[in-house]
């Protein structure tokens, strides 16, 4: 058994454990042991602001992705096989476009002279163009778009396993469609909700390109602090300390989530 997994373990060791360990080591060691980088994170309030903003945006994105993704997954589950393939294909399709291209596409849609503002002005709904991008709003919209598949797919996988008989049983006992949905279907789909939400939330914590391009310079998320710190302090340690704190937050989230559902469900979608 060990012989079978050892190549995979070696790859993980070389490509994940060693670099992450090296990263963590640099954050506490530079010509001697130092907690300087962590002291800075704790004492300068720009770090607090960025972490707070990052969690705020991630939460907002997760809620929006759930609100938008749940009906999509529900529809894909309810319709015939052929239609569900079409729906899922539409969900997954943007995966094949790079994040960068999609950020620019949103720019073309949302900016002052963009499609949406021009259309609204043509209809005379607005006098002045709306500020839809170069702020947190634009960042959230594009991020939700990018992360939506990570919500829809686990939801769909969970819903697929809910036996249809249960809904019929609920109906035969006199439950209205709404009643059986809220009392039977929704509770059974909650593991999917938790799995999808965890994926989206955790991925969003590390977003870089989207806030960089669409945030207008004001939406400074944690990943941007990482890159900025390399420039500013000329030491990888200053950046890796930020990355380590982010990594620890992610591990903490996974730990809390694992108290409620098995992690296999989140990661492997069993």
């Amino acid at each position: 058994m060990l012989a079978l997994v050892s190549p995979a373990l070696l790859v993980i060791l070389l490509l994940i454990v060693l670099p992450v360990g090296w990263l963590a080591w640099q954050s506490i060691y530079h010509d001697g042991f130092t907690l300087e980088h962590y002291r800075r994170i704790l004492s300068e309030d720009i770090y607090w602001r960025s972490f707070a903003l990052t969690f705020e945006i991630s939460l907002l994105v997760t809620v929006l992705a759930l609100v938008l993704g749940y009906p999509v997954a529900y529809a894909a589950n309810a319709v015939s096989k052929a239609w569900s393939v079409v729906i899922l294909a539409l969900v997954v399709l943007p995966f094949w476009t790079s994040v960068l291209v999609r950020a620019y596409a949103w720019l073309a849609l949302l900016q002052r002279t963009g499609v949406i503002n021009q259309f609204l002005r043509y209809l005379d709904v607005i006098g002045e163009p709306l500020a839809l991008v170069h702020n947190t709003f634009g960042t959230v919209v594009a991020t939700v778009h990018i992360l939506l598949p990570f919500m829809v797919l686990p939801l769909y996988a969970t819903m697929q396993k809910i036996p249809n008989d249960l809904m019929q049983a609920g109906a035969s006992l006199g439950g209205s469609p709404a009643f059986t949905f809220f009392r039977v279907f929704l509770p059974l789909s909650l593991p999917g909700v938790l799995a999808g939400s965890t994926m989206v939330f955790v991925l969003c914590l590390g977003f870089y390109i989207t806030p960089e391009l669409l945030g207008g310079g004001r939406t400074v998320m944690v990943s941007m602090l990482v890159s900025r710190n390399v420039e500013l302090y000329n030491q990888f340690g200053a950046a890796s300390a930020v990355a380590v704190v982010l990594l620890l937050s992610v591990l903490l989230i996974f730990f809390v989530v694992s108290r409620f559902i098995s992690l296999d469900r989140v990661l492997g979608q069993k």
Binding site: I46, L107, R112, T113, H134, G216, G217, V220, L225
Partner: protein
């Protein structure tokens, strides 16, 4: 003349030995080449035509090229490893200075670099030589301002007289200089920067800034799409947008004249050839050929005396003497001083407030 003859003799000998002994003279061969690194794209292509190929031919050396958008982390890693593979790097002057202070960059012996020794002192420092100039200028939309366009940083700050959306670079370098000029400091009296005063002035304009841009491409897109009516941008980016047909223009008045410089990595594998190349690369004629291929000014001002650059072309360039006189020459020495580094750190707090 003797050196050239000697060199040609060496070259002939090398050829003969190659013929006679096959592939045994790798050390002699290695001495005749260098690895040169710049930032890639159209900019590096223009250098290849104007400077690199002619220099290689004249010196009889091979110039291997590499490119990287931001050389600084790589310089640190390569020199840190003790075995750098690059020789000469073209990078913003501040990095050459900072690298020199941190022992990552070779100190230059200007007696071996006569072309650089002849340049004004402000155009070189112990570790590097100016290679090309660009400028952070005030650019504006001619659609919004068909006449009476903003012409100074004071105008940029005047949101009543010049209404419109604005963008600045999300970086303190050149932005603090602009703020001080807007507050009435003369372009030649900027350094050492009054950092408190600059940030105070920036707080004033902050609510009117729509976008704080991070890349040159982004600044070009903002101007091209009419997303902003005026912004600080690099002159080459603005003229590229104008060439594409957008109604945009810029002024060199109160521009901040910046440069990239050539420097040599500490422990470079081909140090001697690298020094020879450095001298050749800032030769006035090669330098004069650069602006014929791209919108950047020569690092060596003597290029304007060669007759290679026509007067109408010279007038468009940031380092042309009359244009340079209207601008502030950036002090990289100040920016790599402790006060400059502190100002850079303060920027992040300013942006997130």
């Amino acid at each position: 003349m003797t050196t050239k003859l000697g060199f040609m003799f060496g070259h002939a000998l090398l050829g003969a030995s190659l013929g006679a002994f096959g592939l045994t003279c790798t050390t002699a061969d290695a001495a005749e080449q260098i690895t040169f690194v710049s930032q890639g794209g159209a900019y590096q292509q223009a250098q290849t035509v104007a400077i690199l190929d002619p220099s290689a031919k004249k010196l009889g050396i091979t110039i291997n090229q590499d490119s990287i958008p931001d050389a600084w982390p790589a310089i640190k890693t390569q020199v840190g490893s003790g075995k750098p593979i690059w020789d000469v790097v073209d990078t913003p002057t501040g990095y050459c200075l900072r690298g020199g202070e941190q022992g990552l960059i070779e100190k230059l012996d200007f007696s071996k670099i006569p072309n650089a020794a002849a340049m004004p002192e402000a155009y070189r420092n112990p570790y590097s030589v100016s290679y090309e100039f660009y400028s952070s200028v005030l650019a504006f939309s001619q659609k919004t301002f068909p006449k009476d366009a903003p012409n100074s940083w004071a105008d940029f700050w005047d949101v009543k007289k010049f209404p419109g959306r604005r963008a600045l670079r999300n970086h303190p370098i050149a932005t603090l200089e602009a703020a001080l000029m807007a507050d009435g400091v003369a372009p030649d009296k900027l350094y050492p920067l009054d950092v408190d005063r600059a940030f105070k002035k920036l707080e004033e304009i902050k609510p009117s800034i729509t976008v704080w841009w991070t890349s040159g491409a982004q600044s070009a897109q903002l101007l091209n799409d009419g997303e902003v009516d005026m912004e600080m941008a690099w002159n080459g980016r603005v003229s590229a947008v104008a060439k594409e047909g957008a109604k945009v223009a810029f002024t060199y008045n109160q521009g901040i004249l910046q440069s990239t410089s050539l420097c040599i990595l500490k422990g470079a594998p081909n140090l001697e050839t690298a020094v020879k190349f450095l001298n050749e690369a800032v030769d006035p004629v090669h330098q004069a050929n650069l602006p014929l291929n791209i919108d950047y000014g020569p690092g060596n001002p003597k290029a304007f005396d060669t007759g290679v650059i026509k007067p109408e072309r010279a007038a468009q360039l940031p380092s042309e003497p009359a244009n340079a006189a209207k601008q502030a020459l950036m002090s990289y020495a100040w920016w790599s001083s402790p006060a400059g580094e502190a100002a850079e750190k303060r920027w992040a707090a300013f942006m997130q407030k």
